[in-house]
Subunit: 261 residues, 4 copies
């Protein structure tokens, strides 16, 4: 059973900045997809902002088990309708993994319902990610921690809801900490936020990061059939109530009338 992943990237820095292009000649998305494809149980391909519908047509999302999202400079260019479509796909059961600066992407902010802000510093400092949920499937293969010699700093307070589980917590050389691996569920969809991946450092070439990406795809994948209409609020008329009851008292809705909800 293969997990079908779409790696989405705004694909800006790679084309406009020589440093980033040098680190990621195939794009950040290309590097991530290669990491995901390395062990055969995941089949990843890519979509970018510049494609029609940002590469995220209804059909594409319907056949995506898990979506990875990388964005930074062009969050505002993502069309609202596409961001909404992504959220509905999540609610219907698609897994999603948000990477690094995607904390400020439209889909992440909408799914969190929170400011999603943080403090930051681009100084090439050391980051050490500690496992804070023992033997969590997303941390599989990591012992107690792993290090990235150069990364951007993200600092607390991180403006997100309490997660279901805090899988990683980061230590930074400059003195900050950050909850850097967080699980959520919205509707039927599993969500993972994973902090590393600033575009000027080779984090997605790091073996531990690549292992976590694969773990995250497997964790976020829900094999159940998608929920057909994840926003419907069905009326259950009296005659179809699980228990026999009779209508009593006043009513606002005429029988058979569509609700306001």
């Amino acid at each position: 059973m293969t997990i079908r992943v779409t790696v989405w990237n705004e694909n800006i820095h790679e084309r406009e900045n020589g440093i980033v292009a040098g680190i990621y000649p195939e794009g950040i998305h290309g590097t991530i997809a290669a990491a995901l494809n390395a062990e055969g149980d995941i089949e990843a391909d890519c979509a970018t902002l510049q494609e029609p519908e940002h590469g995220l047509s209804v059909e594409r999302l319907a056949r995506t088990d898990v979506l990875f999202w990388w964005g930074h400079a062009a969050h505002a260019e993502v069309e609202d309708a596409i961001a909404g479509r992504v959220c509905e796909a999540v609610w219907s059961g698609m897994g999603i993994v948000f990477l690094h600066s995607a904390h400020f992407s439209k889909p992440f902010k909408r799914l969190m319902g929170a400011p999603c802000n943080l403090s930051w510093r681009e100084a090439g400092e050391r980051e050490r990610l500690w496992v804070t949920s023992l033997n969590h499937p997303i941390a599989r293969g990591i012992d107690r921690y792993f290090e990235l010699e150069q990364e951007e700093m993200y600092g607390e307070p991180f403006g997100v809801p309490e997660s279901l589980e805090t899988v990683f917590t980061s230590w930074f050389q400059g003195g900050e900490v950050f909850r850097s691996g967080l699980t959520y569920k919205r509707g039927a969809g599993n969500i993972f936020y994973f902090r590393p991946g600033h575009e000027t450092y080779p984090s997605y070439h790091d073996a531990n990061v690549r292992m976590v990406l694969r773990n995250a795809a497997r964790w976020a994948y829900n094999p159940a059939a998608r929920v057909a209409d994840p926003v419907s609020a069905p009326n259950v008329p009296v005659e179809r109530a699980p228990e026999t009851i009779e209508h009593r008292g006043p009513r606002l809705h005429a029988p058979g009338q569509k609700g306001f909800v």
Copy 2:
């Protein structure tokens, strides 16, 4: 120390439907405000959809400790900018209590990041709300359960994130259950969802419901000063890092440059 509450209501059914007008001659908002004002520690007044800015100016929200929200037929008429303003006030520390059909209001859906859907039936059936968090301050004064002889049914699955605490769970005569008292936190703001209050039944005249409303206001109130800018993502330059570090490696942002985040 008085808790300043604003009770917001779309104020539609009371003006257009005789049954509702008969139950709530001073409006649902008026009845709720009276319940809140009953013990002197809360000072509640009202705002409605029809007022300029729906009665929710920046200044009004700034001096509101806890906002109560009732809406049903006119969710779509709430301006997006006002809904966003309410969310930012919550993130900055304003408490908020969503009542009954407000599960589909714009602010609730935005703060949850989830479909917020449910099943429903307007049959005047019995609801029994069980306390599922022992001695929770919002359940203060309720023993093990309380009953509403006639209410609209809301049934699971309720499309919301896992709450911090499940304070009440409802039993319905027709066979359904519902998580009917749920706590959340988004940014610095405390959020409570409370299920009862269909417009054609006198639920907000019920003594237990009124007690829960007061408890909820006290629980949601955060006396800390509001967060000045709840969405800012401040840069922490190298020279102001808590620990002494030096800049290393490539950088995307020129020193002093505003980030994309």
Copy 3:
């Protein structure tokens, strides 16, 4: 990859009560094991209170991926040392599923740290279990709810900690509700509590219950290697700190001394 399950049962009622013997001629454990063995990916066998070490030797637990626990009349007869051994196995990564009256078993009470009490009634009333976490793997194959025509009632408040996820919530004919499917994690071990299974009713012959049992085994299984010593608190001496530091100030412990922790 086969999941190795041990189904533990106190095995009292089946031998002492004709009604229970009639429903479960092979024991409650035998019926549960057969349900688990039905699809080939799980290999379940049994252990009972009456065996040496209650059938739960160190070796047996070491080769058990997921332990199921049914007990009712003889909680007190479980040796403290064996209950402690089960908890340590969970902390090291063994999954565990507690069934029905196991809410008052020694391992469950120890793992919850809470009273685990509830109200109850043996009246053969109808129970309807609603899915309260959409598409959760433990609810796989259940649509919105399933029914058991006769069950014992368990009522809220249920004295357990807030769960990670509430998978099922029960409606009872007599008017109560109950959180009847709850997930937890303690140490590296996944824990599921599942309510149905009073000994005088044929609940473990019910097709939906049997499906949930299999789902629960798959969910609770953690393929990671067991944590070798799940209670150790290792000292990290200065010379092995991840960052270079020097010792400063007074110290209670002489270098190399074992800590009190």
Copy 4:
């Protein structure tokens, strides 16, 4: 309304170690009690291991709103019955605050149901505690972080259940992180774990630590009346069911018989 606090201390290091006696001439408990008594709304006194019943008689716990617990060298000397009595008091609604090495105390381990282990180093290194729950009442008065120039290191993974809220997360000079302020609820009781306070450093003289101690007492305090019997599992006979039902089918318990639960 005064909050009545009992500060419990094993009271060993202060009497046996000159360094600790120099820092805490009135005992760690005396210093903590003074911090709590500083603003008039809290009335704290002390109890120690050496007193009869460790100073924790049934009556003493009954009139304690919030118990603070400091222990390190003598966890094993706390009588099991007293530890159990403390847990029952928590379940009935007493608040409790566990400090530093109390992570390995009997009451904490019992209330968590988890190994509660961690890694540690006594090197006098810098600790920086970051607020990870914005405007949380326990962090009231702390901006984004505060520092302790010399503390013992505690490192992740910390073997505790996922908390309701993570209020503080610590950065350590030697490279580790730790979730150092965690909230829980067990039964009706609020629980807070707060990391700082190694006996060879003057942490309980620190103004920020003292403020957090007061905040924690106020947060943990539940004004509701104690639950009379926090472990009872009452039978609800058919004739007292909230809904009218009739007994059906076989039964194990004779009418009026005490349950096994």
